[in-house]
C-alpha cells in the first residue's frame, strides 16, 4: 500500500518538476506582440534567458535602454517597462515605431556581432 502511495507521489513530483520550468513566468519564448492588432507575421521567436546566456549579456540596459528627451541615459535600464510604453505603433520624431524598435534592437546587434538571426524569416518563423 505505502509503496503505491510513494510511487504515486513520486509521479506527481516528477510531473511538477517538469511542468513548473516549462510554464514559469521567467521563461520568455517569444516577443511580446499583443500591441499589434493585426500582426502580419508570426510572432518572433525569442528565448530571453537562453539568448542572454549564449550572447553573454550581463547588462540589462543593452536591450532595455532608457531615453530621456532623445538622450540615452547611461547606467539606467528599463526592464520594468514594456517596450510599447515608449514605442508606439507609429514612430514619433526620433523614437522609432514598436516594429522598428524590435527590428533595430535585435538586428543591428546581430549584424554587429555577426551572430544571430538577421533575415525576416529567421525570427518570424512560419
Amino acid at each position: 500500500m505505502y509503496n503505491r502511495i510513494i510511487k504515486f507521489l513520486g509521479l506527481i513530483l516528477v510531473f511538477v518538476l517538469m511542468w513548473v520550468p516549462a510554464h514559469s513566468q521567467d521563461e520568455m519564448t517569444a516577443i511580446d506582440n499583443d500591441m499589434f492588432l493585426k500582426p502580419q507575421r508570426p510572432v518572433s521567436v525569442f528565448q530571453h534567458d537562453e539568448h542572454n546566456e549564449t550572447a553573454e549579456i550581463e547588462d540589462c540596459a543593452q536591450c532595455h535602454h532608457l531615453y530621456e528627451d532623445g538622450q540615452l541615459v547611461e547606467g539606467e535600464s528599463s526592464e520594468d517597462m514594456r517596450c510599447a510604453d515608449c514605442h508606439e505603433e507609429k514612430g514619433i520624431g526620433k523614437t522609432p515605431s514598436l516594429t522598428q524598435a524590435f527590428h533595430l534592437n535585435c538586428k543591428m546587434c546581430h549584424q554587429e556581432k555577426k551572430s544571430g538571426p538577421v533575415m525576416c524569416g529567421e525570427c518570424h518563423v512560419k
Binding site: Q40, R41, G91, P96, T99, Q100, H103, L104, K107, H110, Q111, K114, S115, V118, M119, C120, G121, E122, V125, K126
Partner: protein, 219 residues
C-alpha cells in the same frame, strides 16, 4: 552567412541602384544623341500634346485596336507589368527594410495580396516564354537574350515567393532573392528591359508622327 548577407544587402545594393540609375540615364542621353545624329528632323514634329495622347491611349487596357485583337495578351501584359512594378515597391518586407535604413516609410499592401501578385508576375513570364516559342511572328524577332531576360525577371519573384513561404532552404533562397533582384536592376539599362525607360519615348515619337504629320489617330 552574416558576411554574405551584409554584403548583398549593403554594398551590392548601392552598386545595383547606381548602375540602374546611371545606366538608364546613359540610355536616355544616348537615345537623344542618336536621334540628333541620324534623324534630327524628328525633333521638328515632336509634340507634347500628341505624345501624351498616345502614351495615355496605349496605357489603357483594350483602348487600342491592337489590344482588342489580342485580348489574352492584353490582359496578361497589363496584369504582369502592373504587378511587376507595384509588388516590389509596396511589399511589406521591402518597406520595412527601407524604413530601417532610411527612417522613411510609406504604405504597404497586405502580404496575402502581394503573394498573389508575385504569382501573376511568374505566370506572366511563363506566358511570354510560351508565346516566344509558339508564335512565328514573335519567334522571328527573338534572340537568346530574350529568353535570358525572362529568366532574370522571373528569378527575383520565384525566389521571393519561396523565401516568403520559407520553403526549402530559407537563408539560401533569401540571399538568392536579393542577388537576383540586384542582377535584374543591373541588367535593365543594358538589355531589352530598357523599354522600362525607353518605351514612353517610342510611344511619344509615334504619337507625334501620327498626330502631327499624318493627321491620323494612332490606333
Amino acid at each position: 552567412m552574416h558576411d554574405l548577407y551584409n554584403f548583398v544587402s549593403g554594398p551590392l545594393v548601392w552598386v545595383a541602384f547606381a548602375v540602374f540609375f546611371f545606366g538608364c540615364l546613359y540610355r536616355l542621353i544616348r537615345m537623344l544623341a542618336l536621334v540628333n545624329q541620324k534623324e534630327k528632323f524628328i525633333f521638328s514634329y515632336m509634340s507634347f500634346k500628341y505624345s501624351l495622347r498616345s502614351i495615355l491611349h496605349w496605357s489603357i487596357p483594350f483602348a487600342t485596336e491592337n489590344m482588342r485583337q489580342h485580348p489574352v495578351m492584353t490582359i496578361v501584359t497589363f496584369a504582369f507589368h502592373f504587378c511587376l512594378i507595384i509588388t516590389p515597391l509596396f511589399l511589406l518586407a521591402h518597406v520595412i527594410l527601407w524604413d530601417e535604413a532610411w527612417h522613411f516609410s510609406w504604405g504597404h499592401l497586405p502580404e496575402g495580396l502581394t503573394d498573389i501578385m508575385t504569382l501573376v508576375v511568374v505566370f506572366g513570364c511563363f506566358f511570354f516564354l510560351i508565346r516566344r516559342l509558339r508564335l512565328p511572328e514573335v519567334q522571328f524577332v527573338t534572340s537568346a537574350s530574350d529568353y535570358i531576360i525572362l529568366g532574370i525577371v522571373a528569378a527575383p519573384f520565384i525566389t521571393g515567393f519561396l523565401a516568403y513561404h520559407q520553403w526549402f532552404n530559407y537563408p539560401f533562397f533569401m540571399i538568392l532573392h536579393i542577388i537576383s533582384g540586384e542582377i535584374m536592376l543591373i541588367t535593365i539599362p543594358f538589355t531589352r528591359l530598357a523599354h522600362m525607360v525607353l518605351a514612353p519615348f517610342t510611344r511619344a515619337y509615334m504619337g507625334s508622327e501620327f498626330g502631327g504629320v499624318r493627321h491620323a489617330r494612332d490606333w
